[in-house]
Amino acid sequence: MFRAGRRGSRAAVAAVAAGSVSLLLAACGEGAGAASGGGDWKPTKPIEYVAPANTGGGWDTLARSSARVLDKAGLVNRPMRVVNKPGAGGAIGWSYIAKHQKDPHKLFVTSPPILLVPLAGESGQTYRDFTPVARLNTEPLAYVVKADSPFKTFEDLAAKLKADPGKVSVAGGSGPGSLDHVGLAGAVQAAGADASKVKYVPFDGGGEALTSLLGGHTDVAVAGGSEVQALVRSGDVRALAVSSEKRSPILPDTPTLAESGIDYVFDIWRGVMAPKGLTEEQIAYYEKAFEKMVEHDSWKKESKKLGWTNSYLGSEEFGKFLDEQNKEYAGILTEVGLRK
C-alpha cells in the first residue's frame, strides 16, 4: 500500500515534469540513444536503481537526483526506479545486488563505505564483487574549529596533536574506521603525528558533531564540506583546511592540506556501480548516460546546491581509482588498529 502510493506519486511527478519539457528533451533523448550506438545494447525494462540506505540520506539524495536528471533529459530509454535497501551501513543493499550477477537492469550508488565497511570486516562483499560504472563527483572533508579557538591553521592543530594528543578531542559524524575518522587519521599521520593517539569522538552524523563543537564540548570537528558551509559563512566556525587536492568551490577561502604543508588528499567521492558480469556493451551504455548526465545543466545546478564538485571518471578509470583508494584506506586502518 505504502509502496504503491509512493510509486504512484512519483510517476505523477515524472509525468508532470516530462510534460513541461517534453518535446525538446524527447529530441535530446533520441540523440543520446544514437550516440551510444557502439555496442547497441539498450535496457529493455525499467532500471532498478538501489540506494543502500534509507530515504533522506546521502546515498538516497544521490540516487534520486541523478535518476531525476537521467529521466528528464532522456539519457536512458527506460525509467530509473529508485529503491531503498537500507541496513548494515550498506551491506544489505550490496548483498542484494550481489545476488543479481549479470543483471544489467540493476545499478547502485556508492561512495567510500563500499571500501571501508568491507575493510572493517562488516560486509560479505567487497568492491571487487561489483562492476564500477562511473565516478560522478567529489566533496572535500573540512577540518573545522569554533571561531574563538586558539587553532588558526591546520599546522597549529597538527603541532598540538604531536605534542599533546590527549588534550584535543575531535568530533566526527561516523564511527571509528569510517569516512570522517579515516580522513582525519590520514591527515594527522601525514602531518607526522600518531593517528592512533588522537581522541576521535564519534557522533551520529555531522550535525551532532558540529553541535558539540559549537557548544565547546569538543575542540575540533571533521565533516563534509557541504555540511559546514553555512556555519563557515556565518562566522560561527573556522575551517582550518579542506582535504581536496585543489580548493573547493564550496569553501573557496579555505586552504587545502597541501597549502598547509601536509601532503595528503582525501575526497568523499560518489559514483555508480552495477552487478558483476555485465558485458562491455552494457557498461558502455550506462557509462555514456552518466557521462552526458554530469554535463547536463540541471545536474550542474543540483550539484551546486548540494556542494558536489563534478569529477567524472569512466568505468575503467573508476576501477583503478577504487584499487588505489582501497590500498590507501587499508594502510590507514591498519595504522589506527581497526583493520579486520
Binding site: 533522506g56 541496513g87 558551509q229
Partner: protein
C-alpha cells in the same frame, strides 16, 4: 516588535492562496499517514518529497513542515484506538488513551489528544517565533555529559511506569536497555549481539518493538479472551465538561513548554519529551494512581509535549542547519535539494521563508484542529468494527508499517517475536512501558556516557562538574529518593498513630504498607 512586524509579513506569505493550499495539503497528508500504525513522519515526508521538488522552495517547506507536525498530530489516533503507536512520540499516549477507548471513552480521549496537540503545537510556534535565534545557545549547551544526565533523569520514569510492581518494572526496563545494545557499537564500530545477521547491524528498530509489545500483544490477549471484555463500542459524548477542560489545562500547559524545550535539543526529541511529560504529570497529579488506567491527564501530557517538541526541533534545523532528529534530517536533505541552506544566516538572508514557515505553522495547527475534531466520531466508530475484522486489520497495519520501513522479512519475524514477548510479559505481570523507555533512552545514554568519558579522558567527575549535567543528575536522584522519603515518613506517622489508636486512618496505612514493600523489593 520587530518580530511581530515580520510575523505579519510572514502571514502575508503564508496566506497566499497557493501557500494556504499547500499547508492544507501538507497537514492533511501528514495527519492521514500519521494515523496509520507504523507509518510516521519520516514515511510521510519521504512520500511527499517528490511532490515538493516540483514546487517553489517556500511553498515546499511550508508543505513539508505541515506533513511533519500533521503526522505527529495524527499519530495519537492509532495509539488510542488500537494500542498501535504510529509514531514513536505517541507511545506514551497509548498508556492512558487505549484504556480510555476500552472504557468506551475513545471520543473523549481523541478530543483531549486533539486539543492538547493543538496547544502544544501553538505554544511551540510562539516559542519558535519569540526565542528561536537565542535558543540555539541552549541547543549547543548540551554536550555528551549533559545528554547522559538527561537520559538518566528520563530513565527514573521507570519507577512511575512500573505500575504496582517495581521489581518487574526494573527487569522490564533493563531488558529494554539490553535490546538497545544490539548492533554496531557507535563508539568502537564493534558488532554486539548480532549473531552474524546483517539485519541486526543497525540495531533493533524501535517501531518493531513498540508495535510488537503493544499492538500485537494486545491482539493475542484479545484472541485468548475470545472477544470478551473488549469495549462495547459505545461512544460517550465528545464534549469535555468544563471540569475536565480545567483538569487537563495544567498538564497541557506544562507539557507544551517541556516539549518545546526538549525538542530544541538535537537527539532528544518528541519521544523523550512525551515520556518525561507523562511521568512528571503522573507524579504531580493527586490521582496519579489512576494513570495507566484511563486518565485524560495521561493523554494530555504526552500529546502536548510531542507536538511542542516537533515544532521545537525546527530551532536547530533553521538556526544552525543541524538536524535534531531523523525526521528533520530528511527535511534538511529536502531543503538542500531545494536550494535552501539552513543555518545562522537563514533568518537574515531569507526572512520571507523563515517567517512564512512560522506563520504557516499557526495556520496549520488551526487547520489540524478543525480537520480532526469533526472526524473524531468517525474514527471512534472504528471500535465498532467486529473484532473478527478489527484484529486481522491491526495485524495487517503492523506488518505493512514494519515492512514499509525496511522492506525486510527478517523484521517481520522480529515483529512476531516481540509480539509473543509482549504477550508473555502481560501474562506474567511485567509492564511493557519500562521496556520501551529503556530501549529509547538506553542507547542514547550509553553513547553519550562513553563520548563524555572519551572527551574527559575517563574522568568521571565530568558529569558532576558541569552545571547542567549536575543539576539534571540531582533532579534524577531527587525523583528516586522523594518517594522513598515519603514512604518512610508515612511509615513513621503510622507507627506514631498506631501507638495512640489510629482508627479512621485505615485507608492510608494500607496503601503505605504496599508502597514500602514494593520499594524494599526494588
Amino acid at each position: 516588535m520587530d518580530a511581530l512586524n515580520q510575523l505579519f509579513h510572514g502571514f502575508g506569505v503564508a496566506l497566499s492562496p497557493q501557500n494556504l493550499a499547500f499547508v492544507f495539503l501538507g497537514v492533511l497528508m501528514g495527519t492521514v499517514i500519521g494515523m496509520l500504525p507504523g507509518l510516521g513522519p519520516i514515511s510521510a515526508i519521504s512520500l511527499m518529497i517528490p511532490v515538493a521538488f516540483t514546487m517553489d522552495p517556500t511553498s515546499a517547506i511550508i508543505m513539508l513542515a505541515g506533513v511533519y507536525y500533521g503526522a505527529i498530530f495524527g499519530g495519537s489516533t492509532s495509539s488510542i484506538l488500537l494500542n498501535a503507536p504510529g509514531v514513536a512520540g505517541t507511545v506514551a499516549t497509548s498508556f492512558d488513551g487505549y484504556p480510555l477507548a476500552r472504557k468506551g471513552q475513545a471520543g473523549k480521549a481523541l478530543s483531549v489528544a486533539a486539543i492538547a496537540s493543538f496547544v502544544g503545537g501553538t505554544v511551540g510556534v510562539v516559542g519558535l517565533m519569540l526565542v528561536a535565534p537565542s535558543l540555539s545557545a541552549l541547543t549547543v549547551s548540551f554536550g555528551p555529559a549533559e545528554y547522559f544526565a538527561l537520559m538518566v533523569l528520563g530513565l527514573t520514569a521507570v519507577v512511575t511506569l512500573s505500575g504496582n510492581n517495581l521489581t518487574k518494572g526494573l527487569i522490564s526496563g533493563t531488558v529494554g536497555v539490553m535490546i538497545a545494545l544490539v548492533g554496531i557499537d557507535s563508539q568502537t564500530s564493534t558488532l554486539r549481539f548480532t549473531f552474524g545477521r546483517h539485519e541486526l547491524y543497525e540495531g533493533v528498530e524501535f517501531l518493531i518493538v513498540a508495535l510488537g509489545v503493544f499492538a500485537l500483544a494486545e491482539v493475542f490477549v484479545m484472541l485468548l479472551r475470545r472477544g470478551q471484555g473488549g469495549g462495547d463500542g459505545t461512544i460517550t459524548s465528545l464534549r469535555l465538561s468544563r471540569r475536565e477542560l480545567k483538569e487537563i489545562s495544567g498538564p497541557t500547559g506544562r507539557g507544551s513548554v517541556l516539549g518545546f524545550f526538549t525538542g530544541v535539543l538535537p537527539g532528544a526529541g518528541a519521544t523523550v519529551a512525551s515520556f518525561l511529560s507523562y511521568s512528571f504529570e503522573k507524579r504531580l497529579a493527586k490521582d496519579g494512581k489512576t494513570f495507566g488506567k484511563g486518565n485524560i491527564k495521561g493523554v494530555a501530557a504526552p500529546e502536548s509535549a510531542n507536538n511542542g517538541a516537533a515544532v521545537g526541533s525546527f530551532v536547530p534545523l533553521l538556526t544552525l542547519g543541524v538536524p535534531g532528529s531523523g525526521t528533520t534530517a530528511v527535511l534538511l536533505g529536502a531543503l538542500l535539494v531545494l536550494g535552501v541552506q539552513p543555518g545562522p544566516l537563514l533568518l537574515d538572508e531569507q526572512p520571507d521563508m523563515f517567517w512564512g514557515v512560522v506563520a504557516s505553522m499557526y495556520i496549520g495547527n488551526i487547520v489540524l484542529l478543525i480537520l480532526n475534531l469533526p472526524l473524531i466520531p468517525l474514527f471512534a466508530k472504528v471500535l465498532k468494527t467486529p473484532q473478527a475484522l478489527l484484529l486481522p486489520l491491526v495485524v495487517v497495519f503492523c506488518v505493512v508499517g514494519v515492512y514499509g520501513h525496511s522492506f525486510s522479512t527478517f523484521d517481520l519475524w522480529m515483529l512476531i517475536g516481540f509480539g509473543v514477548l509482549g504477550f508473555l510479559m502481560r501474562a506474567n505481570g511485567f509492564p511493557a512501558a519500562p521496556l520501551i523507555l529503556g530501549l529509547i533512552l538506553g542507547g542514547l545514554m550509553e553513547k553519550s556516557m562513553r563520548q563524555a568519558l572519551l572527551i574527559s579522558s575517563g574522568d568521571l567527575t565530568t558529569f558532576v562538574t558541569k552545571p547542567i549535567s549536575a543539576t539534571l543528575l540531582a533532579l534524577a536522584a531527587l525523583s528516586l529518593l522523594a518517594p522513598l522519603y515519603g514512604a518512610w515518613r508515612r511509615t513513621r506517622r503510622r507507627q506514631g498513630l498506631s501507638e495512640d489508636d489510629g482508627r479512621g486512618q485505615d485507608e492510608q496505612p494500607k496503601a503505605t504498607v504496599g508502597g514500602t514493600q514494593e520499594r524494599e523489593n526494588g
